[in-house]
Symmetry: C4
Subunit: 255 residues, 4 copies
Amino acid sequence: MRRHAIVELLDGTHERWGNNVALALHSLIVLSAIAIALETVNGLPPIFTRLLYDFEVFILLVFVAEYVLRLTCSKHPVKYAFSFWGIIDLMSCLPAIALLQPQWQVVRTIRLIRLVRLLKLFRTSVALDRLGRALTLVKGELIVFGVLSALMLYVSAVGIYLFEHDAQPDAFSSIPQSLWWAVASFTTVGYGDLFPITTGGRIFTSFVLFIGLGIVAVPSAIITAALLETQNTVKPRKNKRNTEITKKEDPNETS
Amino acid sequence: MRRHAIVELLDGTHERWGNNVALALHSLIVLSAIAIALETVNGLPPIFTRLLYDFEVFILLVFVAEYVLRLTCSKHPVKYAFSFWGIIDLMSCLPAIALLQPQWQVVRTIRLIRLVRLLKLFRTSVALDRLGRALTLVKGELIVFGVLSALMLYVSAVGIYLFEHDAQPDAFSSIPQSLWWAVASFTTVGYGDLFPITTGGRIFTSFVLFIGLGIVAVPSAIITAALLETQNTVKPRKNKRNTEITKKEDPNETS
Amino acid sequence: MRRHAIVELLDGTHERWGNNVALALHSLIVLSAIAIALETVNGLPPIFTRLLYDFEVFILLVFVAEYVLRLTCSKHPVKYAFSFWGIIDLMSCLPAIALLQPQWQVVRTIRLIRLVRLLKLFRTSVALDRLGRALTLVKGELIVFGVLSALMLYVSAVGIYLFEHDAQPDAFSSIPQSLWWAVASFTTVGYGDLFPITTGGRIFTSFVLFIGLGIVAVPSAIITAALLETQNTVKPRKNKRNTEITKKEDPNETS
Amino acid sequence: MRRHAIVELLDGTHERWGNNVALALHSLIVLSAIAIALETVNGLPPIFTRLLYDFEVFILLVFVAEYVLRLTCSKHPVKYAFSFWGIIDLMSCLPAIALLQPQWQVVRTIRLIRLVRLLKLFRTSVALDRLGRALTLVKGELIVFGVLSALMLYVSAVGIYLFEHDAQPDAFSSIPQSLWWAVASFTTVGYGDLFPITTGGRIFTSFVLFIGLGIVAVPSAIITAALLETQNTVKPRKNKRNTEITKKEDPNETS
């Protein structure tokens, strides 16, 4: 009973304490992510670096404690240890332990593995479920328009390569390079590192932009629509309509 | 009775004068905001600077008069003085009074506090109400997708940092710096101050852009949808539908 | 009768010739606009400049002919001469006549007045009507959100000015200058001529971008929605619905 | 019977093998497109260039085999040879054969004609059909708003030319050059190669951007809406509505 209560506390489903402990753990994860980001800033005052290091040790101890608690309080410790979340929980401690070895500190990538902790945010979250369900809902559409978008990007890249390669041999040096231009243009980000300068290239760009934006925008629109769909943002409108109708016929109905 | 009429005049709810006085006050606020903006322009002819100063003094007098009138005509002067709008009304005069002290003129921030006047535009406005209602309506969705977007931004920033840090140590010097790149890219603003140049960074960007735009666009889409919802822009379409249905059943119904 | 037929020919409502003559005139207007654009290109070969000049004279003659025909064939010549389209028809000839004076050729603005001809494209067009009806439909919403957007732009400009003025005194030299940054950012165009470089400015930008894009996007969304509304792009969907309903009740109904 | 089975294999409609062979051919086409893109990269190691060449020869043999098989197995070989797909199948081999001649290798455009193979991806694809149907559905709307957008672009280009030509005679040297600015701005790509610097030009841009984005966005929105329409992403919403209506009449119906 008591061991069960501890797991409930960590999962945020405890009767009395609700999700307070889980929220605190999630806040720690977010703070840890911020600390990891700040560590990479150059020229931090030594006192601040020291503070970040101490904070990391503190977080490390908390997560080790969480892992040990979950392991000992679980009904099936071995099953937990090899489950998805068990491995994630372990992995969110291990790289930090390695980090305490000064000679490993320098390897940036190892330090960033600590970010696997972010995955723990999704343990009790419904957002990932929603996203997953939304993507499942529109998988077929996404594949079709993903392929169409990829073709559009490829054809645009080849076109701009033909038009601009001679005028800007460095900027549009190859088709893969031109693909980068196509991605930056069709997402309308437009960094400005690559752009056509020949008349032909500009006319070609104008045409493919107006056609292509309509096609390339569809995958994004599909995800957005599916997300809104699975979340019933359209609730209020629906409610109004329901009220109108149910008022007259069936006031107990819930949609 | 008479004192009540003055408050009504200022609020724009007077029987005879309608919202003429309130409109004039609102116009003054907008003009004041424009004047404050123009003051910051370098190399203005002295005559123009003088004019702006005189205009500021004029506006100051109007707002002092409004404050005094509201204070003396209110049924509960003390209650008004400590109410939200009472404090706003006072604050929109005070910084300007300070402004008359030449030695304070230099402090730019003090001068800009005058912009608190803009808040007075919302006293009788329905736009803020609508915005507020729209945001309340979708608070839950906004939080979920705000968090998802933040995670997406963070993960993209870490990814681009890993890919680009060695190639562009100045541009992508740290993860917080890379976060700025992520914000500018996922909002599709794309200033062009930071962009990936390595092949790995560009492929990574291409992938996260197509996935991320779908996620990051949702909060904006939610606000837009909620605003349109609270405003019934969908009116005409709904009407048509109603007509279709009501034609057959209940021709007197109005939605 | 015959004079009436000429007007019908020019308006594109003639029984036998349909809108062939009107289409030809419209094509001439479009060609004239292209010619006017090409004239401004530097370093054109003299033969081409000569050709454009000859084409201009030809177009001029056609439009003079059209004006004279409309004037003589109209039932009420004087009424026509002072009507909106009468004045437009006259104006589309006059600047070109002036153009034939070599000494006036240099004044670019005079030459561009010829573009008033573009207005003639809308004489029989329904597109302008639709646009007008769409805008009328959503006038109220547009004003409210136009004002909100303007406030958002202004407040963002003031904010970025406070954050960036000291770091980039040239780029963000004044609030009006910062307003230009706000316009380019909130429309997500992001030219990259102005962007924040301080940490404070970037954090501020990140926040206002996510909030502001939701607000500033609304006026555009409203116009788009209204345009689609007045055009029944939703036709197919509606048809489906109609079929569903009418199938059961009234198969002859057409919406 | 056997010859028929081969065509079915190639088309992906074979009973037992399903679309396995067709999928393999499609994968080859995609790989071929990637290879063609990689060939243009400078400074590839010779071994890799050699590999790409061998791969090209392999693909060439496959496509020649496919063409011969289709030709000999078709019921009407001559009819096939002169059909659309017959010519595409032939064309996807021919340029590659030419490529084997070393002296033709240098002509980039000839080598890129091999990309005609991409068209073969659409032989059995439904995506092109959908796109085609979607475009047919909204042809009328697209033309009207395409013309309106073109006018908007043209007028904006003329305006910015008038405002900026004197300040930036190189950047805004002519109206066609300014048109390029208009395209990059109204698609919100904003490369940053051209932008207004005069106060007048910026105010003009601010106004036309807010008006124009609403108009120029419509063609893209129409294509997106039509694509989603032909794909019934709106399915769930429609279902709900159906239920409402049928509730009153036929509660057992499920759509």
